[in-house]
Protein backbone atom coordinates (compact mmCIF):
# COMPACT_ATOMS: atom_id res chain seq x y z
CA UNK A 1 0.00 0.00 0.00
CA UNK A 2 2.84 2.37 0.89
CA UNK A 3 4.54 1.84 -2.48
CA UNK A 4 1.26 2.45 -4.32
CA UNK A 5 0.69 5.60 -2.26
CA UNK A 6 4.19 6.88 -3.08
CA UNK A 7 3.56 6.17 -6.77
CA UNK A 8 0.27 8.11 -6.67
CA UNK A 9 1.92 11.04 -4.89
CA UNK A 10 4.64 11.08 -7.56
CA UNK A 11 1.96 11.25 -10.28
CA UNK A 12 0.10 14.09 -8.55
CA UNK A 13 3.23 16.03 -7.65
CA UNK A 14 4.50 16.07 -11.22
CA UNK A 15 1.19 16.82 -12.93
CA UNK A 16 0.91 20.49 -13.77
CA UNK A 17 -2.92 20.40 -13.99
CA UNK A 18 -3.04 19.62 -10.25
CA UNK A 19 -1.09 22.79 -9.46
CA UNK A 20 -3.05 24.88 -11.95
CA UNK A 21 -6.27 23.87 -10.16
CA UNK A 22 -4.71 24.66 -6.80
CA UNK A 23 -3.53 28.01 -8.13
CA UNK A 24 -7.02 28.80 -9.41
CA UNK A 25 -8.54 27.99 -6.00
CA UNK A 26 -5.91 30.08 -4.23
CA UNK A 27 -6.34 33.08 -6.51
CA UNK A 28 -10.15 32.94 -6.28
CA UNK A 29 -9.97 32.77 -2.47
CA UNK A 30 -7.65 35.76 -2.30
CA UNK A 31 -9.62 37.81 -4.83
CA UNK A 32 -13.00 37.27 -3.18
CA UNK A 33 -11.68 37.09 0.39
CA UNK A 34 -9.26 40.00 0.37
CA UNK A 35 -8.69 41.89 -2.87
CA UNK A 36 -12.27 42.89 -3.71
CA UNK A 37 -13.27 43.58 -0.07
CA UNK A 38 -10.10 45.64 0.42
CA UNK A 39 -10.82 47.69 -2.70
CA UNK A 40 -14.34 48.23 -1.37
CA UNK A 41 -12.93 49.19 2.02
CA UNK A 42 -10.32 51.55 0.56
CA UNK A 43 -12.64 53.31 -1.85
CA UNK A 44 -16.00 53.14 -0.05
CA UNK A 45 -17.53 55.38 2.61
CA UNK A 46 -19.82 54.83 5.57
CA UNK A 47 -22.85 56.24 3.83
CA UNK A 48 -25.55 53.53 3.97
CA UNK A 49 -27.10 55.02 0.83
CA UNK A 50 -24.11 54.03 -1.30
CA UNK A 51 -23.28 50.43 -0.39
CA UNK A 52 -24.93 49.71 2.91
CA UNK A 53 -21.96 47.96 4.56
CA UNK A 54 -19.96 49.97 7.08
CA UNK A 55 -16.22 50.12 6.31
CA UNK A 56 -15.38 48.86 9.78
CA UNK A 57 -17.41 45.77 9.10
CA UNK A 58 -15.62 45.20 5.79
CA UNK A 59 -12.26 45.53 7.55
CA UNK A 60 -13.32 43.12 10.30
CA UNK A 61 -14.08 40.52 7.63
CA UNK A 62 -10.46 40.63 6.43
CA UNK A 63 -8.70 40.44 9.79
CA UNK A 64 -7.08 37.28 11.21
CA UNK A 65 -10.09 36.52 13.41
CA UNK A 66 -12.08 35.77 10.21
CA UNK A 67 -9.33 33.83 8.42
CA UNK A 68 -11.26 30.56 8.54
CA UNK A 69 -14.29 32.21 6.87
CA UNK A 70 -12.12 33.45 4.02
CA UNK A 71 -10.21 30.18 3.70
CA UNK A 72 -13.19 27.88 3.35
CA UNK A 73 -16.06 30.25 2.43
CA UNK A 74 -15.70 29.41 -1.27
CA UNK A 75 -15.35 25.63 -0.79
CA UNK A 76 -18.99 24.54 -1.17
CA UNK A 77 -19.24 25.88 -4.72
CA UNK A 78 -16.16 27.32 -6.44
CA UNK A 79 -13.33 25.37 -4.81
CA UNK A 80 -15.67 22.37 -4.70
CA UNK A 81 -15.94 22.49 -8.48
CA UNK A 82 -12.14 22.58 -8.74
CA UNK A 83 -11.86 19.60 -6.38
CA UNK A 84 -14.36 17.71 -8.53
CA UNK A 85 -12.24 18.45 -11.58
CA UNK A 86 -9.18 17.15 -9.68
CA UNK A 87 -10.91 13.84 -8.90
CA UNK A 88 -12.14 13.51 -12.48
CA UNK A 89 -8.78 14.20 -14.16
CA UNK A 90 -6.79 11.97 -11.83
CA UNK A 91 -9.07 8.94 -12.05
CA UNK A 92 -10.43 9.59 -15.57
CA UNK A 93 -6.94 10.12 -16.96
CA UNK A 94 -6.13 6.48 -16.19
CA UNK A 95 -8.87 5.47 -18.63
CA UNK A 96 -8.17 7.99 -21.39
CA UNK A 97 -4.43 7.32 -21.39
CA UNK A 98 -4.94 3.57 -20.99
CA UNK A 99 -2.57 3.60 -18.00
CA UNK A 100 -5.06 1.70 -15.86
CA UNK A 101 -4.03 -1.55 -17.57
CA UNK A 102 -0.37 -0.70 -16.97
CA UNK A 103 -0.77 -0.19 -13.23
CA UNK A 104 -3.25 -3.04 -12.76
CA UNK A 105 -0.71 -5.50 -14.18
CA UNK A 106 1.90 -4.62 -11.55
CA UNK A 107 1.61 -6.34 -8.19
CA UNK A 108 -1.08 -4.64 -6.01
CA UNK A 109 -4.77 -5.54 -6.13
CA UNK A 110 -7.28 -3.19 -7.73
CA UNK A 111 -8.73 -2.14 -4.37
CA UNK A 112 -5.26 -1.31 -3.05
CA UNK A 113 -4.48 0.87 -6.05
CA UNK A 114 -7.78 2.74 -5.83
CA UNK A 115 -7.31 3.15 -2.06
CA UNK A 116 -3.84 4.59 -2.67
CA UNK A 117 -5.28 6.98 -5.26
CA UNK A 118 -7.93 8.23 -2.81
CA UNK A 119 -5.34 8.56 -0.06
CA UNK A 120 -3.08 10.58 -2.36
CA UNK A 121 -6.01 12.78 -3.40
CA UNK A 122 -6.84 13.32 0.28
CA UNK A 123 -3.23 14.36 0.88
CA UNK A 124 -3.33 16.76 -2.07
CA UNK A 125 -6.63 18.26 -0.87
CA UNK A 126 -5.09 18.76 2.59
CA UNK A 127 -2.19 20.60 0.94
CA UNK A 128 -4.68 22.77 -0.95
CA UNK A 129 -6.51 23.64 2.28
CA UNK A 130 -3.29 24.40 4.15
CA UNK A 131 -1.90 26.39 1.21
CA UNK A 132 -5.03 28.53 0.90
CA UNK A 133 -5.11 28.97 4.67
CA UNK A 134 -1.48 30.11 4.73
CA UNK A 135 -2.08 32.63 1.93
CA UNK A 136 -5.25 33.94 3.59
CA UNK A 137 -3.45 34.18 6.93
CA UNK A 138 -0.63 36.20 5.36
CA UNK A 139 -3.10 38.55 3.69
CA UNK A 140 -5.08 39.05 6.89
CA UNK A 141 -1.90 39.79 8.87
CA UNK A 142 -0.80 42.26 6.20
CA UNK A 143 -4.16 44.06 6.20
CA UNK A 144 -4.26 44.14 10.02
CA UNK A 145 -0.79 45.67 10.05
CA UNK A 146 -1.63 48.20 7.33
CA UNK A 147 -4.94 49.27 8.86
CA UNK A 148 -4.04 48.97 12.54
CA UNK A 149 -6.65 46.26 12.92
CA UNK A 150 -6.90 43.58 15.55
CA UNK A 151 -4.47 40.65 15.18
CA UNK A 152 -6.36 38.24 17.38
CA UNK A 153 -6.72 34.75 15.90
CA UNK A 154 -9.45 32.20 16.25
CA UNK A 155 -8.82 29.52 18.86
CA UNK A 156 -6.82 26.45 17.82
CA UNK A 157 -9.92 24.29 18.12
CA UNK A 158 -11.97 26.56 15.88
CA UNK A 159 -9.11 26.73 13.41
CA UNK A 160 -8.71 22.95 13.23
CA UNK A 161 -12.46 22.43 13.05
CA UNK A 162 -12.75 24.92 10.20
CA UNK A 163 -9.87 23.47 8.20
CA UNK A 164 -11.04 19.89 8.76
CA UNK A 165 -14.56 20.86 7.68
CA UNK A 166 -13.16 22.52 4.57
CA UNK A 167 -11.08 19.43 3.79
CA UNK A 168 -14.15 17.21 4.09
CA UNK A 169 -16.16 19.43 1.74
CA UNK A 170 -13.43 19.37 -0.91
CA UNK A 171 -12.82 15.65 -0.43
CA UNK A 172 -16.51 14.92 -0.95
CA UNK A 173 -16.54 16.81 -4.24
CA UNK A 174 -13.23 15.24 -5.27
CA UNK A 175 -14.64 11.74 -4.69
CA UNK A 176 -17.75 12.73 -6.63
CA UNK A 177 -15.49 13.59 -9.58
CA UNK A 178 -13.62 10.31 -9.11
CA UNK A 179 -16.73 8.12 -9.07
CA UNK A 180 -18.11 9.89 -12.15
CA UNK A 181 -14.78 9.27 -13.90
CA UNK A 182 -14.94 5.57 -13.02
CA UNK A 183 -18.54 5.39 -14.22
CA UNK A 184 -17.89 7.10 -17.57
CA UNK A 185 -14.23 5.94 -17.99
CA UNK A 186 -13.53 9.43 -19.18
CA UNK A 187 -12.44 12.91 -18.11
CA UNK A 188 -14.57 15.40 -20.05
CA UNK A 189 -18.05 14.03 -19.32
CA UNK A 190 -17.59 13.77 -15.51
CA UNK A 191 -16.24 17.32 -15.41
CA UNK A 192 -19.10 18.66 -17.51
CA UNK A 193 -21.82 16.89 -15.56
CA UNK A 194 -20.25 17.54 -12.16
CA UNK A 195 -19.61 21.24 -12.67
CA UNK A 196 -23.10 21.81 -14.11
CA UNK A 197 -24.50 20.05 -11.04
CA UNK A 198 -22.46 22.09 -8.55
CA UNK A 199 -22.80 25.48 -10.19
CA UNK A 200 -26.34 25.22 -11.53
CA UNK A 201 -28.60 22.31 -10.82
CA UNK A 202 -28.30 22.22 -7.03
CA UNK A 203 -29.01 25.93 -6.69
CA UNK A 204 -31.90 25.64 -9.14
CA UNK A 205 -33.36 22.64 -7.30
CA UNK A 206 -33.09 24.39 -3.94
CA UNK A 207 -34.83 27.45 -5.40
CA UNK A 208 -37.66 25.45 -6.98
CA UNK A 209 -38.20 23.43 -3.80
CA UNK A 210 -38.28 26.47 -1.53
CA UNK A 211 -40.68 28.44 -3.75
CA UNK A 212 -42.89 25.81 -5.42
CA UNK A 213 -42.50 22.49 -3.65
CA UNK A 214 -41.88 23.09 0.07
CA UNK A 215 -42.94 19.52 0.83
CA UNK A 216 -39.74 18.34 -0.88
CA UNK A 217 -37.50 20.36 1.39
CA UNK A 218 -36.15 17.12 2.92
CA UNK A 219 -34.83 16.17 -0.50
CA UNK A 220 -33.11 19.51 -1.05
CA UNK A 221 -31.59 19.22 2.41
CA UNK A 222 -30.09 15.86 1.55
CA UNK A 223 -28.16 17.13 -1.48
CA UNK A 224 -24.36 17.27 -1.24
CA UNK A 225 -24.01 20.97 -1.97
CA UNK A 226 -26.60 21.92 0.66
CA UNK A 227 -24.76 19.90 3.29
CA UNK A 228 -21.37 21.24 2.20
CA UNK A 229 -22.69 24.81 2.59
CA UNK A 230 -24.26 23.98 5.94
CA UNK A 231 -21.06 22.43 7.30
CA UNK A 232 -19.04 25.47 6.27
CA UNK A 233 -21.67 27.75 7.81
CA UNK A 234 -21.55 25.84 11.07
CA UNK A 235 -17.75 25.92 11.46
CA UNK A 236 -17.37 29.63 10.64
CA UNK A 237 -18.64 32.75 12.29
CA UNK A 238 -20.61 33.96 9.29
CA UNK A 239 -23.99 35.61 9.52
CA UNK A 240 -26.63 34.26 7.15
CA UNK A 241 -26.89 37.65 5.47
CA UNK A 242 -23.22 38.05 4.47
CA UNK A 243 -22.39 34.40 3.71
CA UNK A 244 -20.88 33.71 0.27
CA UNK A 245 -22.88 31.76 -2.37
CA UNK A 246 -23.66 28.22 -1.31
CA UNK A 247 -22.99 28.79 2.39
CA UNK A 248 -26.23 28.69 4.39
CA UNK A 249 -27.80 27.23 7.48
CA UNK A 250 -30.11 24.74 5.74
CA UNK A 251 -29.28 21.91 8.17
CA UNK A 252 -27.36 21.69 11.43
CA UNK A 253 -23.59 21.19 11.53
CA UNK A 254 -23.76 17.66 12.99
CA UNK A 255 -26.19 16.45 10.39
CA UNK A 256 -24.19 18.07 7.59
CA UNK A 257 -21.01 16.40 8.85
CA UNK A 258 -22.60 12.95 8.91
CA UNK A 259 -24.20 13.45 5.49
CA UNK A 260 -20.91 14.46 3.91
CA UNK A 261 -19.13 11.48 5.49
CA UNK A 262 -21.90 9.25 4.11
CA UNK A 263 -21.49 10.76 0.62
CA UNK A 264 -17.71 10.17 0.78
CA UNK A 265 -18.27 6.55 1.81
CA UNK A 266 -20.87 5.92 -0.91
CA UNK A 267 -18.70 7.47 -3.63
CA UNK A 268 -15.62 5.51 -2.52
CA UNK A 269 -17.49 2.20 -2.26
CA UNK A 270 -19.19 2.68 -5.64
CA UNK A 271 -15.87 3.47 -7.30
CA UNK A 272 -14.16 0.47 -5.67
CA UNK A 273 -16.99 -1.93 -6.50
CA UNK A 274 -17.06 -0.86 -10.13
CA UNK A 275 -13.28 -0.91 -10.53
CA UNK A 276 -12.96 -4.38 -9.00
CA UNK A 277 -15.72 -5.95 -11.07
CA UNK A 278 -15.33 -4.37 -14.45
CA UNK A 279 -13.21 -5.59 -17.36
CA UNK A 280 -10.35 -3.31 -18.35
CA UNK A 281 -10.57 -3.25 -22.11
Amino acid sequence: MLGSYRAEILKLRKRSAVWVLFGAGLVLSLIFGYLLPYLGYATGDDNPQTDGVPRAEILRGMLPERVVDNTIGGYPIFAGALALVLGAIVIGGEYTWGTLKTILTQRPRRGTILGAQFLALGTMIALWVLGIFAACALCSVGIAAAENGSTSWPGVGDLLQGLAGGWLVLMMWCLAGAVLAVAFRNVALPIGLGVVWILGIETLLAGVVSSLLPSLKWLANALPGTNAGSLVFSVTGMAAGDAPPGVRDAVGGGRALLTLIAYCAVFAVLAAWTTRRRDVT
Partner: protein, 299 residues
Amino acid sequence: MDALVEVSGLTKRYGGTLAVDGVDLTVLPGEVYGFLGPNGAGKTTTLRILTGLIAPTSGNVRVLGGRPGDAGVLGRTGSMIESPAFYPYLSGLDNLRLLAEYAGVSRQRIDEVLELVDLTDRAKDRFSTYSLGMKQRLGVAAALLKDPELVILDEPTNGLDPAGMRDMRRLIRELGTEGRTVLLSSHLLGEVQQICDRVGIINAGRMVAEHNVDELRGEQELVVRAIPREDAQRLLTRFGSVHQYDDTLRVQVDPAKAAEVNRALVEAGIDVSELHTAERALEDIFFELTTAKEKTDVG
Protein backbone atom coordinates in the same frame (compact mmCIF):
# COMPACT_ATOMS: atom_id res chain seq x y z
CA MET B 1 7.24 -30.39 -16.98
CA ASP B 2 4.50 -28.24 -15.43
CA ALA B 3 3.09 -25.65 -17.80
CA LEU B 4 3.42 -21.99 -16.78
CA VAL B 5 0.23 -21.10 -18.61
CA GLU B 6 -2.61 -23.57 -18.90
CA VAL B 7 -5.80 -22.54 -20.64
CA SER B 8 -8.66 -24.86 -21.46
CA GLY B 9 -12.06 -24.16 -22.96
CA LEU B 10 -11.54 -20.41 -22.62
CA THR B 11 -14.46 -18.34 -23.83
CA LYS B 12 -15.08 -14.61 -23.73
CA ARG B 13 -18.33 -13.14 -24.92
CA TYR B 14 -19.09 -9.41 -25.32
CA GLY B 15 -22.85 -9.17 -25.70
CA GLY B 16 -23.63 -11.12 -28.85
CA THR B 17 -20.00 -11.31 -29.99
CA LEU B 18 -17.88 -14.31 -29.16
CA ALA B 19 -14.36 -12.87 -29.03
CA VAL B 20 -12.68 -16.05 -27.77
CA ASP B 21 -14.30 -19.42 -28.41
CA GLY B 22 -13.09 -22.46 -26.49
CA VAL B 23 -9.37 -21.75 -26.66
CA ASP B 24 -6.90 -24.33 -25.28
CA LEU B 25 -3.34 -23.17 -24.85
CA THR B 26 -0.27 -24.40 -22.97
CA VAL B 27 2.99 -22.52 -22.46
CA LEU B 28 5.91 -24.53 -21.08
CA PRO B 29 8.75 -23.18 -18.92
CA GLY B 30 11.64 -21.62 -20.79
CA GLU B 31 10.03 -21.52 -24.21
CA VAL B 32 9.20 -18.63 -26.50
CA TYR B 33 5.61 -19.23 -27.48
CA GLY B 34 4.16 -17.43 -30.46
CA PHE B 35 0.49 -16.62 -30.40
CA LEU B 36 -0.29 -16.04 -34.01
CA GLY B 37 -3.40 -14.77 -35.68
CA PRO B 38 -4.78 -12.04 -37.91
CA ASN B 39 -6.04 -8.76 -36.46
CA GLY B 40 -9.26 -9.29 -34.49
CA ALA B 41 -8.64 -13.02 -34.04
CA GLY B 42 -8.86 -12.84 -30.23
CA LYS B 43 -5.15 -12.66 -29.32
CA THR B 44 -5.31 -9.50 -27.21
CA THR B 45 -8.51 -10.61 -25.48
CA THR B 46 -6.80 -13.87 -24.49
CA LEU B 47 -3.73 -12.02 -23.21
CA ARG B 48 -5.92 -9.60 -21.24
CA ILE B 49 -7.54 -12.60 -19.55
CA LEU B 50 -4.10 -14.06 -18.74
CA THR B 51 -3.07 -10.81 -17.03
CA GLY B 52 -6.31 -10.49 -15.07
CA LEU B 53 -7.52 -7.38 -16.87
CA ILE B 54 -10.71 -9.05 -18.02
CA ALA B 55 -12.62 -11.99 -16.65
CA PRO B 56 -13.36 -14.99 -18.87
CA THR B 57 -16.96 -15.91 -19.59
CA SER B 58 -16.06 -19.57 -19.09
CA GLY B 59 -13.10 -21.92 -19.10
CA ASN B 60 -10.12 -22.67 -16.88
CA VAL B 61 -7.05 -20.45 -16.75
CA ARG B 62 -3.95 -21.03 -14.61
CA VAL B 63 -0.93 -18.75 -14.82
CA LEU B 64 2.20 -19.68 -12.84
CA GLY B 65 0.03 -22.04 -10.86
CA GLY B 66 -2.40 -19.36 -9.73
CA ARG B 67 -5.36 -17.34 -10.89
CA PRO B 68 -4.72 -14.52 -13.37
CA GLY B 69 -4.69 -11.16 -11.61
CA ASP B 70 -3.64 -12.53 -8.21
CA ALA B 71 -0.95 -10.41 -6.59
CA GLY B 72 1.46 -13.36 -6.42
CA VAL B 73 1.00 -14.13 -10.11
CA LEU B 74 1.26 -10.51 -11.23
CA GLY B 75 4.46 -10.09 -9.20
CA ARG B 76 6.12 -12.82 -11.30
CA THR B 77 4.67 -11.71 -14.64
CA GLY B 78 5.76 -8.84 -16.84
CA SER B 79 3.44 -7.75 -19.60
CA MET B 80 2.82 -5.27 -22.33
CA ILE B 81 -0.73 -5.52 -23.59
CA GLU B 82 -1.68 -3.76 -26.82
CA SER B 83 0.04 -0.39 -27.20
CA PRO B 84 2.34 0.74 -24.38
CA ALA B 85 0.41 3.11 -22.08
CA PHE B 86 2.26 5.55 -19.84
CA TYR B 87 1.74 8.99 -18.29
CA PRO B 88 2.56 11.49 -21.05
CA TYR B 89 3.62 14.29 -18.68
CA LEU B 90 6.20 12.11 -16.93
CA SER B 91 9.61 11.13 -18.26
CA GLY B 92 10.34 7.54 -19.20
CA LEU B 93 12.42 7.29 -16.02
CA ASP B 94 9.61 8.62 -13.81
CA ASN B 95 7.12 6.27 -15.45
CA LEU B 96 9.37 3.34 -14.57
CA ARG B 97 9.97 4.75 -11.07
CA LEU B 98 6.29 4.79 -10.28
CA LEU B 99 5.79 1.28 -11.68
CA ALA B 100 8.73 0.19 -9.53
CA GLU B 101 6.97 1.71 -6.50
CA TYR B 102 3.82 -0.28 -7.26
CA ALA B 103 5.76 -3.49 -7.77
CA GLY B 104 8.36 -3.01 -5.03
CA VAL B 105 11.36 -3.01 -7.37
CA SER B 106 14.75 -1.39 -6.68
CA ARG B 107 16.09 1.71 -8.45
CA GLN B 108 19.02 -0.31 -9.73
CA ARG B 109 16.68 -2.54 -11.72
CA ILE B 110 15.24 0.56 -13.47
CA ASP B 111 18.71 1.45 -14.75
CA GLU B 112 19.25 -2.13 -15.89
CA VAL B 113 16.06 -2.34 -17.96
CA LEU B 114 16.64 1.11 -19.48
CA GLU B 115 20.08 -0.09 -20.55
CA LEU B 116 18.60 -3.32 -21.89
CA VAL B 117 16.22 -1.51 -24.25
CA ASP B 118 18.74 1.22 -25.08
CA LEU B 119 16.75 4.10 -23.61
CA THR B 120 19.19 5.38 -21.00
CA ASP B 121 20.05 8.52 -22.98
CA ARG B 122 16.41 9.56 -23.40
CA ALA B 123 15.19 8.36 -20.00
CA LYS B 124 14.69 11.86 -18.63
CA ASP B 125 12.66 13.08 -21.60
CA ARG B 126 8.88 13.23 -21.39
CA PHE B 127 7.06 10.14 -22.63
CA SER B 128 4.92 12.36 -24.87
CA THR B 129 8.03 13.29 -26.88
CA TYR B 130 9.00 9.66 -27.58
CA SER B 131 8.74 8.12 -31.03
CA LEU B 132 6.51 5.07 -31.48
CA GLY B 133 9.53 2.81 -31.37
CA MET B 134 10.81 4.37 -28.14
CA LYS B 135 7.38 3.99 -26.55
CA GLN B 136 7.42 0.34 -27.54
CA ARG B 137 10.87 -0.14 -26.02
CA LEU B 138 9.77 1.57 -22.79
CA GLY B 139 6.82 -0.84 -22.72
CA VAL B 140 9.20 -3.79 -22.92
CA ALA B 141 11.41 -2.21 -20.23
CA ALA B 142 8.36 -1.93 -17.98
CA ALA B 143 7.49 -5.56 -18.67
CA LEU B 144 10.98 -6.65 -17.61
CA LEU B 145 11.12 -4.40 -14.53
CA LYS B 146 10.03 -7.11 -12.09
CA ASP B 147 12.61 -9.54 -13.49
CA PRO B 148 9.66 -11.80 -14.26
CA GLU B 149 9.54 -15.52 -14.89
CA LEU B 150 6.84 -15.05 -17.50
CA VAL B 151 6.88 -12.22 -20.03
CA ILE B 152 3.70 -11.55 -22.02
CA LEU B 153 4.20 -9.25 -25.00
CA ASP B 154 1.39 -8.23 -27.31
CA GLU B 155 2.75 -7.41 -30.75
CA PRO B 156 6.00 -5.95 -29.38
CA THR B 157 7.47 -4.99 -32.76
CA ASN B 158 4.51 -2.82 -33.78
CA GLY B 159 5.70 0.57 -34.99
CA LEU B 160 9.38 -0.29 -34.97
CA ASP B 161 11.63 0.40 -37.92
CA PRO B 162 13.53 -2.57 -39.45
CA ALA B 163 16.55 -2.08 -37.21
CA GLY B 164 14.31 -1.73 -34.17
CA MET B 165 12.43 -4.89 -35.11
CA ARG B 166 15.68 -6.80 -35.46
CA ASP B 167 16.89 -5.59 -32.04
CA MET B 168 13.57 -6.35 -30.40
CA ARG B 169 13.50 -9.88 -31.82
CA ARG B 170 17.05 -10.46 -30.64
CA LEU B 171 16.08 -9.22 -27.17
CA ILE B 172 13.08 -11.54 -27.04
CA ARG B 173 15.18 -14.46 -28.20
CA GLU B 174 17.71 -13.64 -25.45
CA LEU B 175 14.95 -13.61 -22.87
CA GLY B 176 14.11 -17.14 -23.95
CA THR B 177 17.70 -18.32 -23.71
CA GLU B 178 18.04 -16.75 -20.24
CA GLY B 179 15.46 -19.23 -19.03
CA ARG B 180 12.50 -16.88 -19.00
CA THR B 181 9.26 -17.93 -20.58
CA VAL B 182 7.93 -15.60 -23.23
CA LEU B 183 4.40 -15.54 -24.60
CA LEU B 184 4.40 -13.35 -27.65
CA SER B 185 1.46 -12.43 -29.83
CA SER B 186 1.96 -11.35 -33.37
CA HIS B 187 0.28 -11.19 -36.72
CA LEU B 188 3.69 -11.31 -38.42
CA LEU B 189 4.36 -14.86 -39.50
CA GLY B 190 8.03 -14.36 -40.22
CA GLU B 191 8.55 -12.92 -36.77
CA VAL B 192 7.05 -15.93 -35.06
CA GLN B 193 8.99 -18.29 -37.32
CA GLN B 194 12.25 -16.52 -36.42
CA ILE B 195 11.96 -16.31 -32.66
CA CYS B 196 9.46 -18.84 -31.35
CA ASP B 197 9.87 -22.44 -30.25
CA ARG B 198 6.19 -23.23 -30.38
CA VAL B 199 3.27 -21.56 -31.96
CA GLY B 200 -0.46 -21.43 -31.40
CA ILE B 201 -2.59 -20.21 -34.27
CA ILE B 202 -5.87 -18.49 -33.51
CA ASN B 203 -8.46 -17.40 -36.02
CA ALA B 204 -11.90 -15.92 -35.39
CA GLY B 205 -11.56 -16.66 -31.67
CA ARG B 206 -10.69 -20.35 -32.12
CA MET B 207 -7.34 -22.14 -31.86
CA VAL B 208 -6.70 -23.89 -35.11
CA ALA B 209 -3.30 -25.39 -34.29
CA GLU B 210 -0.68 -25.58 -31.55
CA HIS B 211 2.67 -27.18 -32.40
CA ASN B 212 6.44 -26.79 -32.40
CA VAL B 213 7.39 -24.48 -35.25
CA ASP B 214 9.42 -27.28 -36.89
CA GLU B 215 6.64 -29.78 -36.38
CA LEU B 216 4.10 -27.43 -37.87
CA ARG B 217 6.20 -26.85 -40.91
CA GLY B 218 6.09 -30.62 -41.35
CA GLU B 219 8.18 -32.71 -43.73
CA GLN B 220 10.48 -31.06 -46.15
CA GLU B 221 9.50 -31.06 -49.80
CA LEU B 222 11.24 -31.25 -53.11
CA VAL B 223 10.51 -28.44 -55.52
CA VAL B 224 10.58 -29.61 -59.13
CA ARG B 225 10.32 -27.56 -62.30
CA ALA B 226 10.02 -29.90 -65.27
CA ILE B 227 8.55 -30.09 -68.76
CA PRO B 228 6.11 -31.55 -69.69
CA ARG B 229 4.64 -30.84 -66.29
CA GLU B 230 1.70 -33.24 -66.54
CA ASP B 231 4.04 -36.20 -67.26
CA ALA B 232 6.31 -35.13 -64.40
CA GLN B 233 3.40 -34.85 -62.00
CA ARG B 234 2.17 -38.33 -62.95
CA LEU B 235 5.64 -39.82 -62.45
CA LEU B 236 6.35 -38.03 -59.17
CA THR B 237 3.29 -39.52 -57.46
CA ARG B 238 5.40 -42.71 -57.19
CA PHE B 239 7.54 -40.88 -54.59
CA GLY B 240 4.91 -39.06 -52.56
CA SER B 241 1.98 -36.70 -52.69
CA VAL B 242 2.36 -33.98 -55.29
CA HIS B 243 0.77 -30.58 -55.46
CA GLN B 244 1.21 -27.75 -57.88
CA TYR B 245 2.45 -24.39 -56.58
CA ASP B 246 2.67 -21.63 -59.19
CA ASP B 247 4.57 -23.30 -62.08
CA THR B 248 6.44 -25.79 -59.88
CA LEU B 249 5.54 -29.14 -58.42
CA ARG B 250 5.98 -29.85 -54.71
CA VAL B 251 6.65 -33.47 -53.77
CA GLN B 252 6.51 -34.59 -50.14
CA VAL B 253 9.48 -36.88 -50.13
CA ASP B 254 12.67 -37.35 -48.14
CA PRO B 255 15.16 -34.82 -49.61
CA ALA B 256 17.79 -37.58 -49.58
CA LYS B 257 15.94 -39.10 -52.55
CA ALA B 258 16.51 -36.00 -54.72
CA ALA B 259 19.04 -37.78 -56.97
CA GLU B 260 16.72 -40.76 -57.40
CA VAL B 261 13.83 -38.46 -58.32
CA ASN B 262 16.00 -36.58 -60.80
CA ARG B 263 17.19 -39.82 -62.45
CA ALA B 264 13.62 -41.11 -62.79
CA LEU B 265 12.49 -37.91 -64.46
CA VAL B 266 15.43 -37.79 -66.90
CA GLU B 267 15.09 -41.48 -67.78
CA ALA B 268 11.41 -40.82 -68.61
CA GLY B 269 12.46 -38.13 -71.07
CA ILE B 270 11.31 -35.23 -68.92
CA ASP B 271 13.43 -32.07 -68.93
CA VAL B 272 14.29 -30.98 -65.39
CA SER B 273 15.26 -27.30 -65.07
CA GLU B 274 15.08 -26.99 -61.28
CA LEU B 275 15.16 -29.41 -58.35
CA HIS B 276 15.80 -28.45 -54.74
CA THR B 277 14.51 -28.99 -51.23
CA ALA B 278 12.12 -26.50 -49.65
CA GLU B 279 10.68 -26.09 -46.24
CA ARG B 280 7.07 -25.18 -45.97
CA ALA B 281 6.85 -21.59 -44.82
CA LEU B 282 4.76 -20.90 -41.74
CA GLU B 283 2.86 -18.45 -43.89
CA ASP B 284 1.64 -21.26 -46.16
CA ILE B 285 0.60 -23.34 -43.18
CA PHE B 286 -1.15 -20.40 -41.56
CA PHE B 287 -3.23 -19.72 -44.63
CA GLU B 288 -3.94 -23.42 -45.14
CA LEU B 289 -5.15 -23.76 -41.57
CA THR B 290 -7.20 -20.58 -41.39
CA THR B 291 -8.74 -21.11 -44.82
CA ALA B 292 -9.57 -24.73 -44.03
CA LYS B 293 -11.23 -23.64 -40.80
CA GLU B 294 -13.27 -20.97 -42.55
CA LYS B 295 -14.38 -23.50 -45.18
CA THR B 296 -15.39 -25.93 -42.44
CA ASP B 297 -17.36 -23.20 -40.71
CA VAL B 298 -19.18 -22.28 -43.93
CA GLY B 299 -19.84 -25.93 -44.73
